[in-house]
Symmetry: C2
Subunit: 151 residues, 2 copies
């Protein structure tokens, strides 16, 4: 699998992740650990909420999105998250949904403080098997550059 550097990216580049299925058991497990609320924890109780059934924690969707993004971009040494804005969950994620992430590179610039790195701004859109958007976010990440001798 191709490993990427900052230098391999330019504004406008688009990437599509593989798809991953979200199992009901994983929704419940994540909720027990991190987001113990009725609509994430128990199918029967969730039936009586406005969601009419179990839905994933938004933080679970965000974490799944991170996995898909990391595997798709596959940065050498990894991408260090600087911050996230406009994180939204316009539609719920339900058991059995197949999620995939579309990444668009919005901006790239060398880091002033860390000359071996560049700053990448990107937008991630997470969709389900019906092409409904379940999450959107903008992010900035610090990504390694090629060593000068490599270029």
């Amino acid at each position: 699998m191709k490993q990427r550097y900052f230098d391999d990216l330019k504004a406008g580049d688009k990437f599509q992740s593989e798809a991953v299925e979200v199992l009901g058991a994983a929704i419940v497990e994540f909720a027990h650990k991190f987001d113990p609320q009725s609509f994430h924890l128990d199918p029967a109780t969730a039936e009586r909420t406005m969601f009419k059934g179990l839905i994933a924690s938004g933080w679970h969707t965000a974490a799944i999105t991170m996995r898909l993004f990391v595997r798709t971009l596959n940065f050498v040494e990894g991408a260090i998250g600087l911050g996230v804005d406009e994180l939204r969950w316009p539609n719920p994620v339900r058991p059995g949904d197949l999620l995939r992430v579309e990444t668009e590179i919005v901006d790239v610039r060398p880091s002033r403080s860390k000359p071996n790195h560049g700053i990448v701004r990107l937008r991630n859109v997470t969709k389900n098997q019906r092409d409904e958007i379940v999450q959107t976010m903008s992010a900035a990440a610090l990504v390694p550059r090629h060593a000068v001798g490599d270029r």
Copy 2:
């Protein structure tokens, strides 16, 4: 433990969560599932990164923050996340760190589309045992109101 409704909150209210220890094994487990990058996965490899040791995924810190927040505010029926902005990780989380969350209610208003709910805007600041800020975020959540007959 007191259960809260939208009507129990006003702008300026502040809450402090309990503290929770972040174990190295939990950092690695979360990373394997959701953020498989070297500085989150393996202490030896992480030693050779700019962090000089294992650090938690920002999404892990966000998920831990959610747990602490949910347990502190303890909304009846739960709080439905509408969105998050200005999510930042100014300092890394390392194995053995004790995290706690300070919540400030920024704004409250009734929901126009869902009369049984109100919208709460809040700011969560997550700190470690040395009072260093490891995460900040702003969020909006949909929270149940008292039934009219209850007021």
